[in-house]
Structures are given as structure tokens and as C-alpha cells.
Symmetry: C2
Subunit: 296 residues, 2 copies
């Protein structure tokens, strides 16, 4: 049981964490801060946070658990603003979708306080950003990746593991480098492709007519193209090298399929699609034991 949760960035991720912690009875009160005062006020009115703080530092002050939930490029400046309250008596985590840049920012901003920061990435989200979509069950049945450094305080890593587990998530640990390579492949590139695809369709002269005919396949394929612009600007910039590497692999696979179409090799095309379709049909999203989600 924590006495006070400080949330810096009261959006979908931060707000959902606050609601989940309250629902699980893990925290007495939640103090929140967002760069935009109207967001903080909305979060308070919705009951996502109990108290609106006027600065990041005031949200950390008196908190024994802090969640940093801002676009990843804001990590360094935010950590600098609160650095003298970062210590191993406080569990301090982020939720960023990239980890090498977050760890580098933490090294620069925190110096000797670095061991008190536990880098975290919950694999959860929604197409609708904003605190009004915060959801106490967002992390239930999801994976959370921790990327501690050798110098990270082991007791805090354990505490972080316990908190996310109590919210129904499954905790995995890996290096920031392995994390960023994996998520470039399974998350960052698909977002980039969905952005590019939606734009290509919508910007054609007949785009409006085309969009009026699109069905459920299109809907699901492009769901992530509605993601938050500031969040994805930062992710794509921060993990640029790995994302561009994955894009090259994707383009090679696309080239190969198109060559089969152009060469009229229907049998080869069918065989290739069959392998892919079977592999995709046999793939299932990892869900922690005991957890259940309708949509998994």
C-alpha cells in the first residue's frame, strides 16, 4: 500500500495507472500534474487524480510512488525538474515505448540518483488518447517490460514487479537495446506503416469515396493510425535506427510478394501466403496466467 501516487502526465497511460492503483486499493491518494492545466483539471474532475499539482515537482513531493507518463522526448527535462526528490525510498517509473533514449536521458538527468529510476514499458494502449479514455483495466492481462540497468536498485525493481503484477500485468525484464529492437519490429514499424497507408488512401483524389467503402479489415489495420501524434513523433525519432532497419526488411518482403504478382506466379504466391496465414493463425498474444480479456 502506497500513501501517495504522483502522476506526471495525466493522459491515457498515466490516468489509467492512477485508476488501476485506486481500484486495486494500492494507493491512498493521487496527485497529478500535466503540462496543460486544462488536462490536469479534467483529470481531477473525472476523479482520475485527487489533487491537481501546479508543477511536476509538486506532484512528486510527498509521493512514495511516481509515474512519469509524458512523450519520451520530455523525459530528460522532466527528470531534471524533479531530480532532487528522486531517491530509493520512492518507486520512480516511466511508461515510455522506447527505452534506450529514456535510459540515456535518465543517466544525464539523474547522475548519482540513477539507481532510483526503474524504466518501464507497459504494452497497452488505445487508439483514443487523452485522460477521458483512461481505463482502470488498461494494464490487466498485458505485458510490462522493465529495462533496469546493472546499477538500478534491485529492491525497487522488485517493488515495480510487485506493483504491475498486482494490477494484473505480466512483468518481463530485458536490456533497453533488446527492448528497442523488438518493439521497432512489433509496434513502431506497424504504426509507421499504418500512418503511411492511411495517408496514401486518404490523400488520393478519390480518397473520400474509397474511405466510404472500407470495411472491418481496413478498420482494424488502420486503428493504430489514430494514435497520439506527440507520443509517436518521439517514439519514431528516438528509435529511428531500429525502425528504419525493420522498414528495410518489410520492404524486402513486400518486393518479393509483388515480384510474384508481376511474374504471374500464382502457385508461389499462394504457397507464400499460406505459410504466412498459418503462422499468423497460430500466433496468440501473450496473456498472463489467470488473466482474461475479452479482446485478447
Amino acid at each position: 500500500m502506497f500513501n501517495q501516487l504522483g502522476v506526471i502526465g495525466c493522459g491515457l497511460m498515466g490516468g489509467s495507472f492512477a485508476l488501476a492503483m485506486k481500484k486495486a486499493g494500492l494507493v491512498r491518494r493521487v496527485v497529478g500534474y500535466s503540462k496543460s492545466p486544462s488536462t490536469t483539471e479534467t483529470a481531477r474532475k473525472l476523479g482520475v487524480i485527487d489533487v491537481a499539482a501546479e508543477s511536476a515537482l509538486l506532484a512528486v513531493s510527498g509521493s512514495d510512488i511516481v509515474l512519469l507518463a509524458v512523450p519520451v522526448a520530455a523525459t530528460e527535462s522532466t527528470l531534471r525538474a524533479v531530480r532532487h526528490l528522486v531517491d530509493p525510498k520512492v518507486l520512480f517509473m516511466d511508461v515510455g515505448s522506447t527505452k534506450c533514449d529514456v535510459v540515456d536521458a535518465a543517466k544525464r538527468a539523474l547522475g548519482k540518483q540513477l539507481p532510483a529510476f526503474v524504466p518501464a514499458h507497459p504494452i497497452a494502449g488505445k487508439e483514443s488518447a487523452g485522460v477521458q479514455h483512461a481505463d482502470a483495466t488498461l494494464y490487466q492481462g498485458r505485458q510490462v517490460i522493465l529495462t533496469p540497468l546493472p546499477q538500478t536498485d534491485a529492491a525497487l525493481v522488485q517493488k515495480a514487479t510487485d506493483v504491475w503484477s498486482a494490477l494484473g500485468a505480466q512483468v518481463l525484464k530485458m536490456t533497453p537495446e533488446n527492448h528497442d529492437a523488438a518493439f521497432a519490429a512489433v509496434s513502431h514499424l506497424p504504426h509507421l506503416l499504418a500512418f503511411a497507408f492511411f495517408q496514401a488512401v486518404a490523400s488520393q483524389p478519390a480518397g473520400r469515396d474509397f474511405l466510404s467503402l472500407a470495411g472491418p479489415g481496413f478498420r482494424d489495420f488502420t486503428r493504430i493510425a489514430a494514435s497520439d501524434a506527440a507520443v509517436w513523433r518521439d517514439i519514431l525519432m528516438a528509435n529511428k535506427t531500429e525502425v528504419l532497419l525493420q522498414s528495410r526488411l518489410f520492404r524486402q518482403a513486400l518486393d518479393a510478394l509483388e515480384a510474384m504478382m508481376q511474374g504471374g506466379d500464382a502457385a508461389q504466391l499462394e504457397a507464400r501466403i499460406r505459410l504466412i496465414a498459418e503462422a499468423r493463425a497460430n500466433w496468440h498474444m501473450n496473456v498472463p496466467r489467470g488473466a482474461s480479456r475479452k479482446d485478447s
Copy 2:
């Protein structure tokens, strides 16, 4: 009310049509034929069809409504096999996802009987192919595109419209050419991209590890990569020209986003993503008035 529905191709699409027609009380009995006898037998055991026919011709014989639901490349040979039973007293439709090739096949196969064939494309599907996934509500709340030719019997087009409307679908009419251009953009290309993307991830040395970390965004983005191989072989071959044109437009949009990443232009990247995300958030799948689907 029809006396007998003949279904040629007892898969997801044909089976769902049979179940929907029965549920709506629009047909007395259903006779089905599939190339694979075990499929026909499964359809009969599941109650999707009432009688298993031993040939396409026997499925058409005595039917006053016939649905051709085979991969599009099989259209011509199937129509040839049943051509002398195709006449304006029987409503004869297909469900193919491409229409220029189906219409050309019908012209070649049917000759003077061409006016009796109403080309149709219901915008519905599932990631799981096969009659065991047939669903009486598959077409409810969906769009169905009819692409009649100038010579198509107007009374049959009206009858087709009435049938699909009675199943809860919204019927639109357009030319085969406009249909194929639109669906290359909103359906065929996303399938090709999903196939290529899933393969690129899965075939990497670390692919298995990466896949174990993928979350709900990946799940939805790749859902259509599990689609039926024979069906998609035919669609991609039949509508190759339009699909490759759409792929070029997509690659241009992807190139532009990657150039922003590489050039370090975060503000421009954010502005571009914001436009895309807002347009996607404001897009909603067309659903007929009065119809409701949980997943739309």
C-alpha cells in the same frame, strides 16, 4: 421467399449466406457443393446446407437462387459447368472481392446468358476461413457492392438488392472498374502489406522472441494476414495493376515519413502524424441505418 438456394463453394462466405437466408426465413432448403467432398459433408453436418450435391450443376438444378462463392479464378470454369441452367428465372450471384475479372469470366463463360448473372461483393469477412466459421450475422450491417453491366437484367438486380437488404446489408452499385480501384486501396493493398509485414517480422532470427512481445496494436494490424491463401492469391493476381498502383502511392507516403525521421524534422513529423491521426479518428465504417454491430 425462395424455394431452393444452391451454394457453390461452402466456405465462410457461402456458408454464412446459407445460414443468413435460413435465419431470415427467405429459403426453404439449401443445396450445397464444394470441390472438396469433406467440406460439403462438414457443411451438411453443421446444418449449414440441407443437401450435399455431387457437382456444381446438381447444386444449381432446381434452385431459384444460386450463390457462387469460390476463389475468383475459379469463376469461369464454374460458370461454364452450370451455364445451361443460368437464366433470368434464377437469381445468380457471386461474392468475389474483384469484379473486372469476374465480369470478364462471366462474359466468356455465359455468352447470351450474361444478363442473368448479377456480380456482387459483400464487404464482410473474418480472419478464420472455412465453413466451421460460417455465421448467420456475417452480412448484417455490412455493405454489398453490385457491379451490374448495362446488359444485366434490371429485375434481377432489383431482386439481388432486395435479398441483401433483407439480410441487413446496405446495397451500393458501381462499375466493375470503380469497384476494383477502390478495393485495391482499402482492402487488397492492406492485405498485401499485412502479409509482407508479418513475414518480415516472423522470418528474422529473433522473430519468435519478437512475436512473444507483440501486443494489441500488432494483433489488430496483422489480423488480415491470417486470411485464406487461395482467395487472396486470386484477388492479388486478378487486381494486380490496381494493387501495384496503390502500393506505389503507399511507398511514396512511407518514403516521406522516413525522410522526416532521417532528417530529424520532429515538428514536421508530428504535424503530419496529427493530420493522419485526426482523419483516422474521424473516419467511421459505413453501417446501414437501423443496423447495429458491436464491432463496428
